[in-house]
Amino acid sequence: MGVVAHRSLVDARADFPVLGREINGHSLVYLDSAATSQKPRQVIEAMESFYSTSYGTVHRGVYELGREATDAFEGARERIASFVNWDTDCSIYVRNATEAINLVAYAWGREHVSAGDEVLITEMEHHSNIVPWQLLCEETGARLRYLSVSGEGELSLDELDSVLAEGRVRLVAVTHVSNVLGTVNPVQEIVRRARAAGAVSLVDGAQAVPQMPVDLRAIDADFYAWTGHKALGPTVGMLHGRRELLKEMRPFLGGGHMISRVEREHSTWNELPWKFEAGTSAVAEAVGLGAAVDYLSAIGMEQVRAHERDLTTYALERLPELDGLTLYGPPNVDSRGGVVAFAIEGIHPHDIAEICDREAVCVRAGHHCAQPLMRLLGVGATARASFHVYNTRDDVDRLVHALSGAREVFGL
């Protein structure tokens, strides 16, 4: 588990076994990391080795395996928390970012949001940062409001200020990086303004943590949610929260491990973070995520960000070579992450993805779980290419080639 010496991204491709696959006689070009990322062998091996040598129940086994499993599980938590610069005991394992947000909506929201209050989100949120708040507002009689997204795919801090000034916002929930537009939002500033107005803040970091350095102490949000499977790790998520809030919150799920003592009529709760981890956690997945953050740290998140920026720049340069192509999101690569949503006039995104697949180019087509944003863009769906450490400029060339083939098939 020691930190590997600095590795170049050229070497990184060799770490991903799936890239050795051929589909339809073509080598794989995986451009859907915003949906889920591929896994390096370091992650796969860490999980396999854990299952092969040290698997056991955590926090209960008195025997050697139980001790080793607990050390691996808690050791991973420590490294994951330090990866995003947050306190270990305020870093909670969950299933995914969706569950992290639901945890906050349930355990914090139901105690602190009531009729007449407002929950403020934005028009660029993923359904995971919309629907939990809809449910909360339906239940409590609070009002759900949306900050608008500009033509260039950005939020307005002035609009934020004017909504906050009305004095009814209890919670601001915003994505760090848009999964469609790629917009990198000024979350530090949004959190600061929310707090000044007496509102609690939640940042959805599902698209941010995998591709850029994230310093949670600098952002200082009350809650920050993300997921491992987009960050080269397995399917386990993280919720980082402010200690004062987590301490006074009621539990989310009740059951084993989250209790201190159970009486016939009532119970008392375990300490942080275990108070929010009812039942047996995804232990090997946590170990795998520990290996994933070690892997990313060894490359260096600054370098990951630079690589994604280079590929995005190149894609934004090459894609417009195709006639009838529309790009979505900020034109400036400094304010966007490694995702490019696009449309081609005369070909539906579903057909674009189908034809790309014939050349083993994996792109996403659909509403990207962001239907309110799709309506704002005036489309039902878009195609989307997204990058990670294993992608190269050649992959972008392969995409452009496949897209020009799609235009031919459609007689354009």
């Binding site: 005369g346 070909i347 539906h348 995104p349 579903h350 057909d351 189908e354 034809i355 087509a365 659909g366 509403h367 239907q371 799709m374 039902g380 769906a381 098939v409 459609f410 007689g411």
Partner: protein, 126 residues
């Protein structure tokens, strides 16, 4: 020739038959494919238990639009009751191309909408 995007499929996609709206109409339905967000609605004019005119409207991929367009030509003149009994195979045979599992709902959306309009049953045809 492309095995999926055949000339007649692309022709129906680019120049869909019986697309638009009908007012007044006797029956209508609107539905969507939750996987991709594609939407399709239909207006039907019925006389003596038969479909005498219909219009689809909405947006979708080549497969879903071509399926609606090709089916529309068969549906005019059919008994409303018969339309409600049509199964998935009917529209897939009409399309005349191999439909993979990932594109099945694209192919079936127009039939789902017709079934909804004629029977009120909102389930996917099997």
């Amino acid at each position: 020739m492309d095995a999926l995007y055949r000339d007649y499929i692309l022709d129906h996609y680019k120049n869909p038959r019986n697309f638009g709206t009908l007012d007044p109409h006797d029956l209508e339905w609107h539905d969507h494919n939750p996987l991709c967000g594609d939407e399709l609605g239909v207006h039907l004019v019925v006389e003596d238990g038969k479909v005498v005119d219909l219009r689809f409207h909405g947006q979708g991929c080549a497969i879903s639009q071509a399926a609606a367009s090709i089916a529309s030509e068969e549906l005019v003149g059919m008994d409303v009751e018969e339309v409600g009994r049509l199964g998935a195979d009917w529209v897939i045979e009409l399309l005349g191309i191999e439909i993979s599992p990932t594109r099945r709902k694209c192919a079936l959306l127009s039939l789902k909408v017709m079934r909804g309009a004629t029977t009120g049953d909102a389930s996917w045809p099997e």
